[in-house]
């Protein structure tokens, strides 16, 4: 037996990517292709009084000018509330109001400038706390007509509330009365950009007979197909979505984006393909971002540190549209109190409309935001009680036998957050005080060090029915092609699927090839490439497909070798007779059928198929939030040591350890890759990343200078990655999803360390030098 799980394999797409051969959306050119440009709103909230497109239309080379008043379509993954273009009013700065298709990009750009739009500005709704009040101006006047998934989401029309998910467990009011200590804090986080290096690009060709071909930089080809077809009332079979290499997504390329708009342009141009590549400024202003969050957390505990009550109100800044983001408030409710065993819980998690960029899925899907407040709150509670924060956590963590706040039973197979926490806390000696000499040095230099630890959890937030499938074809020479409907946009899923197939089929991994892109006409279905669900769900589908292939090889082998099926086995890329291994038949002789000497042939091409769907998930009870939503829970913890320069407010990460209970390490280097990358993204969110607007709601951060992500120079000085392996019963080889988790709780662990170093308690992000310095000045 060769082992393909664990140590792992090199990336399946390395050669294409290091040579520049990998073809991304921007590299595709089609015959007759036109170029699109969008015209966006300069106001956060405004009535569209008039649009004059005559000058743009008169420009030579312009093939179509489209406004929301000519033709429009409504889309949305969970909440169908978003038009392809604003028609009556604009709801955020950067919203598309019109679009152009022209012979060249230059002509399209010029034509967009020539479109004249008269607006009547309306008061913008910019603060979720104001927006949620009944007296607030409405972002959506007629939201009661919007379609949404009934029973799962709970909008409150007439107010700026697109969803409210409630969790009710025990009796919080009584528990607060019993508590020895009650603390309450409010934590605020701004919106954040995904910032994939590749912007969202799309080419659509709306051909004759309404046959539509879409090439798009998307995480979820089948969701694009589904929502496009649904929006335009087309059969799914007439919409073909092709996804080439994708240059990063982080959630931002899930759901559907400009495909409907570009489709309408193509239709207007007699079916010529139209390409839209947004500029970086458009990518920032027009495409969705991560939601902001205002979190109020009230916690009651006994004096020995047992948390007995928690009341949480999450106001999610959903921006102008709830589309996909409405599910984040639901996910935020399920995870609302973190991986803690708390008997009395009351949660209200609310998606609020504002006149800002709309929110969507972002790596962690609400959890990085929730954990800033929750893990800050744990340290603040420990301080109030005079306890070690690590001990306080260990006293309250979910252990086998406990129930989550939504009533899900934790078993010995669920994963062990306590082991993760102990491991990182020990590695960094969290809790150990500095020596008097070190402390004297801190005082002398004004550079104070401190440590902290925090825990994390996440499960996929997806519909109960979200499914994956896989097809495994054996080629004439016994090599294998695998096609799936999920996308590898860098996270390494395909390499792991290759490893799974190599292990399952006992075929050298070099002989297993992943089809590089996804095409919905040719690839098997997958719901979406999101939620860290691919290794588990698509991995299980590949297992089943390989087993199906194996059965067929055994069957053909047994016929050709004249043995019963139970008497043959697979090995060394052959079917052989167990009793007489010298009687064997290589795969290559039977995988396309077997031909006898006289010419008779039997069998035929061998194709394995597999599918998977999460078992036993339920919707949440609308009143109590009880139910089972988790495919798997991945737990983890971070420990950190920072140095704060009290003169400048700069924070340096001196040392760090991160640990996840991954179930089973499938590919060590790739686990490390996801974890190091996720941690750094978390450091960006902590130190520099924030979407800023002026007082009128006009976006200020529109480029990579004003919006800074972490660079080579922002790496932690030391970062140790470790894993706990508590096998997931229904995960392939025991594995769980880990793609999103590393950046959860990073903000909190640093803010906690900052408080330990300087006494400055920060309740909002980012912890940029100027804001830290201002907080220190207040101390």
């Amino acid at each position: 037996m060769r082992e393909y799980i664990g140590k792992g394999a090199l990336r399946h797409d390395g050669i294409e990517k290091v040579t520049g051969q990998a073809e991304y959306l921007g590299d595709i050119k089609l015959n007759g292709m036109l170029y699109a440009k969008i015209k966006t709103s300069p106001y956060a909230h405004a009535q569209i009084v008039s649009i004059d497109t005559s000058k743009a239309e008169a420009l030579p080379g312009v093939r179509a000018v489209l406004t929301g008043r000519d033709e429009n379509v409504m889309v949305g993954l969970y909440m169908v509330d978003r038009w392809a273009m604003a028609a009556e009013k604009t709801r955020y700065y950067g919203e598309v109001v019109a679009a152009v298709a022209a012979d060249t990009q230059e002509i399209a750009d010029r034509a967009a400038e020539l479109i004249e739009i008269e607006y009547m500005p309306l008061p913008p709704v910019l603060d979720v706390r104001e927006a949620v009040k009944a007296s607030s101006p409405q972002v959506h006047e007629n939201s009661e007509v919007y379609d949404y998934i009934k029973g799962v989401f709970h909008p409150e029309p007439g107010r700026n509330i697109a969803n409210r998910t409630k969790v009710r467990k025990g009796d919080v009011d009584a528990a607060f009365l019993r508590a020895d200590v009650v603390i309450e804090h409010t934590y605020e986080q701004p919106q954040v950009f995904h910032l994939p290096l590749e912007p969202h690009g799309t080419i659509v060709q709306w051909g004759a007979g309404d046959k539509v071909k879409i090439h798009t930089s998307a995480q979820s080809p089948f969701a694009v197909r589904d929502l496009f077809a649904h929006g335009f009332q087309l059969p799914r079979s007439k919409v073909e979505v092709n996804v080439p290499y994708v240059g990063g997504g982080f959630g931002g390329k899930a759901g559907i984006h400009m495909e409907p708009l570009v489709g309408m342009l193509s239709k207007r141009c007699g079916g010529r393909p139209v390409k839209l590549i947004p500029t970086r400024e458009e990518e920032c202003a027009t495409f969705p971002c991560r939601q902001g969050l205002v979190a109020r957390v009230k916690t009651g505990a006994t004096k020995d540190g047992k948390i007995i009550a928690e009341e949480v109100e999450y106001l999610w800044d959903g921006g102008a549209y709830a589309d996909y983001g409405v599910n984040i408030s639901r996910a935020g409710a399920v995870t609302a109190c973190g991986p803690y065993d708390i008997e009395n819980v009351k949660v209200d998690s609310v998606t609020v409309y504002t006149n800002k960029i709309f929110g969507t899925a972002y790596r962690g899907f609400g959890h990085p935001e929730v954990f800033f407040g929750i893990e800050r709150q744990r340290d603040l509670l420990a301080k109030e009680l005079g306890m070690c924060p690590v001990e306080l956590r260990l006293k309250n963590l979910l252990m086998p036998g406990a129930h989550t706040i939504t009533g899900e039973l934790i078993t010995e197979h669920t994963g062990r957050v306590d082991k993760c926490l102990k491991m990182v806390a020990e590695k960094l000696n969290v809790g150990q005080d500095y020596t008097p000499e070190e402390k004297a040095e801190f005082q002398k230099t004004g550079k104070y060090r401190a440590k902290a630890a925090a825990v994390l959890q996440k499960s996929p937030a997806m519909p109960t029915w979200s499914a994956s499938s896989a097809v495994v074809h054996m080629n004439e020479d016994g090599t294998v092609h695998i096609t799936v409907g999920g996308v590898d946009f860098g996270q390494g899923t395909y390499t792991v699927l290759q490893q799974i197939a190599a292990e399952r089929l006992q075929i050298p991994i070099e002989k297993i090839v992943m089809a590089p892109g996804v095409n919905t006409d040719m690839s098997p279905y997958d719901w979406q490439t999101v939620a860290s669900r691919m290794t588990v769900l698509c991995g299980n589908a590949v297992c089943e497909a390989c087993d199906d292939l194996t059965e067929q090889l055994l069957e053909m082998g047994s016929i050709v070798l004249r043995a019963s099926k139970h008497e043959v086995a697979l090995g060394d890329e052959c079917v052989y007779v167990k009793q007489n291994p010298q009687y064997s038949m290589p795969y290559s002789k039977i995988c396309m059928g077997y031909t006898y000497e006289n010419g008779n042939a039997i069998g035929g091409p061998i194709i394995g198929r597999g599918k998977s769907i999460a078992q036993g998930l339920t919707n949440l009870d609308p009143e109590t939030g009880q139910g089972k939503t988790a495919l798997d829970w991945t737990y983890g913890a971070h420990a950190i040591e920072i140095e704060v320069d009290t003169h400048t407010g700069d924070i340096r990460v001196v040392d760090m350890a991160s640990c996840l209970d991954v179930g089973r390490v499938m590919n060590e280097a790739m686990v490390h890759g996801q974890m190091i990358g996720g941690v750094l993204q978390g450091l960006g969110t902590t130190f520099s990343e924030a979407v800023y607007y002026d007082g009128e709601g006009r976006l200020l951060t529109r480029n990579l200078t004003d919006y800074k992500i972490a660079t080579f120079k922002d790496m932690p000085e030391k970062l140790e990655i470790c894993c706990v392996e508590t096998p997931q019963l229904d995960g392939p080889y025991g594995a769980r999803g880990i793609g999103e988790h590393p950046l959860i709780a990073i903000t909190a662990v640093i803010a906690n360390a900052l408080a330990n170093a300087t006494g400055a308690e920060m309740y909002d992000l980012p912890l940029s030098a100027d804001r830290v310095r201002a907080a220190l000045a207040k101390e």
Binding site: R11, L197, G677, F712
Partner: protein
């Protein structure tokens, strides 16, 4: 329109193009060398890094007429006769790429660094590469890949 002569990956080209386009557009749209990526078109992300007269440069910040007579190396010239360079090989072996969109620019920046400094320290690597953004890898594997490639190219 303007006539521009330039050498790209040891091949001589003569291009007629508008004067105001960038070297990036010239490479991608006129020479169809799409390995060089556009991430921001403002010199902020490094995805379009090429070697321009021996030095790493953002192709989006060079006007096409400035490239007249220039010697340019792009990602397409890094592998020779279908064989990956040690730097490319090292990127694969050390998992120094995920989505791959920043990778051509990363490799060209690293190539310029190694050409000028065959034995860079980790700090020198960070300094030289700082203008190249990556949202996936966390940079650590890229530094390791460049370090190891440097050793390999020196025969260490």
């Amino acid at each position: 329109m303007r006539q521009i002569h330039l050498t790209v990956n040891n091949e001589k080209y003569q291009v007629y193009c508008p004067e105001h386009i960038t070297l990036l557009t010239l490479l991608r749209e006129h020479l169809h060398l799409t390995g060089t990526k556009e991430g921001c078109a403002a010199g902020e992300c490094g995805a379009c890094t090429v070697i321009f007269n021996g030095k790493a440069a953002n192709a989006c910040m060079v006007l096409a007429p400035e490239a007249n007579g220039a010697v340019v190396e792009t990602i397409e010239g890094e592998a020779k006769d279908g064989v990956l360079s040690p730097l490319q090989q090292s990127f694969i072996e050390h998992h120094a790429l995920q989505c791959g969109f920043c990778t051509p620019g990363m490799i060209m920046s690293a190539r310029a660094l190694l050409d000028a400094n065959p034995a860079p320290t980790r700090d020198e690597i960070k300094e030289a590469m700082e203008g190249n953004l990556c949202r996936c890898t966390g940079y650590e594997p890229i530094i390791t890949a460049i370090e190891q490639a440097a050793g390999g190219e020196r025969g260490a």
